[in-house]
Symmetry: C2
């Protein structure tokens, strides 16, 4: 009747959630071994000691299992970012440090879950297109970053350089969606910084920095601090 999880749910519902979770856990394990393209329902079932056909009670198809993993990954990363932000705020950190704390959290999560990271920020899985269900989960990291910048701008009225005309409209349109109080130049800088953050993280996770960058924590930390300055978060005095 109720679709929410609660302590008073029946045994059947509880069992269903446990098995669903076990399937996803095992699928995540296999993701780490073979990547998304080779994720196999049969292999998951085998490892779980069930008949492969039994999985169809939980996921109507392989793609639906993949979708669930994608949403979980976005949510897991989003939660990590939000937690890092909350912690930094609670510790009374300045916006710049809140920003870098969130970036570091994204990096840490990605390094700890490289295959889930690849699932959501790597090449799209061929023949699979993520349904709209994923977009809310996917937006969480971006929203945290925007929140930091918005709070820092409260009443500050920081001045920004001029924007090319086409970009001004662009910035205003995006701002209208997510942060009406931010100037367009800040918004476009934010979106760029957001993509650039994942450039830095992706290069490290996917090995592009091998034999090039050695002290990666220091490098990353420095780079995202620069990004923070780029979106108008001021150097601490």
């Amino acid at each position: 009747m109720s679709s929410t999880t609660s302590a008073t749910q029946g045994a059947r519902a509880r069992a269903r959630e446990e098995v669903t979770a076990a399937i996803k856990d095992e699928a995540r394990k296999q993701l780490a071994d073979d990547g998304a393209a080779k994720l196999s329902l049969r292999a998951v079932a085998r490892e779980l000691g069930m008949a492969s056909s039994a999985l169809y009670r939980y996921f109507p198809s392989r793609d639906d299992l993949l979708t669930a993993l994608i949403i979980d990954a976005y949510d897991s990363l989003g939660a990590a970012a939000e937690a890092a932000h909350a912690e930094a705020v609670a510790a009374g950190k300045e916006p710049v440090q809140q920003w870098t704390a969130v970036c570091e959290a994204v990096r840490s999560w990605a390094l700890e879950h490289p295959h889930e990271y690849a699932l959501i920020y790597g090449s799209p899985v061929p023949g699979y297109s993520a349904p709209d269900t994923t977009v809310r989960a996917a937006a969480r990291v971006g929203l945290v970053l925007i929140g930091i910048v918005r709070d820092a701008h409260q009443g500050r009225g920081v001045a920004y350089g001029p924007l090319p005309g086409e970009l001004r409209t662009e910035g205003e349109r995006i701002a209208a969606d997510v942060a009406p109080d931010l100037p367009p130049a800040t918004i476009t800088a934010m979106v760029a910084a957001w993509a650039q953050l994942f450039g830095l993280v992706g290069f490290e996770v996917f090995g592009q920095f091998n034999r090039i960058v050695e002290d990666r924590p220091a490098f990353f930390s420095h780079a995202v601090t620069q990004l923070a300055h780029g979106v108008g978060l001021l150097r601490q005095s």
Copy 2:
């Protein structure tokens, strides 16, 4: 006898090169349909009207075909970047414009060859590890960008802010490899900008900007100009 391609090669050698090229072309076509993980020797052979076993005269295994495609992709992208640079130099453009021209070339190439882009900058193909053969080809874009910055710095002695200690050594080490005349702060900024460039490109190619950024050329152009400033290429007066 000679391993180089020449007009005087025998018919057999010429045929071999043509068939090799045909195999790679067909493989690239299939890459675009199904992605790297599903690239299949049998499907390539089928499409070419040969027995699947015949491909083994040209590539000892599926992985070797993949490796060839990866190197070709890096080289194709590298050549595009180098051509854009040469053209900008020939047109007497300033370093900032050389930089943005190269970035635009990278973007265009990626948008025109999204699946090859995914092959080299997306998730690593599971179970496949790129041999060292690829690293020279992979470095070409980075070297073009470094060249621009190095030329712009000739005798300029632009002053840079201080670097954290660990990063200074890091910057000096990388500089020693590729550009001994550049200050460490510039080098680390370069490496970051390099990764960030591919963050911007990757987000666009992989659809992360869907429903967020509309005027993508203008956005990209603005963002990479900012990157250029970040590595010390001065605004044009």
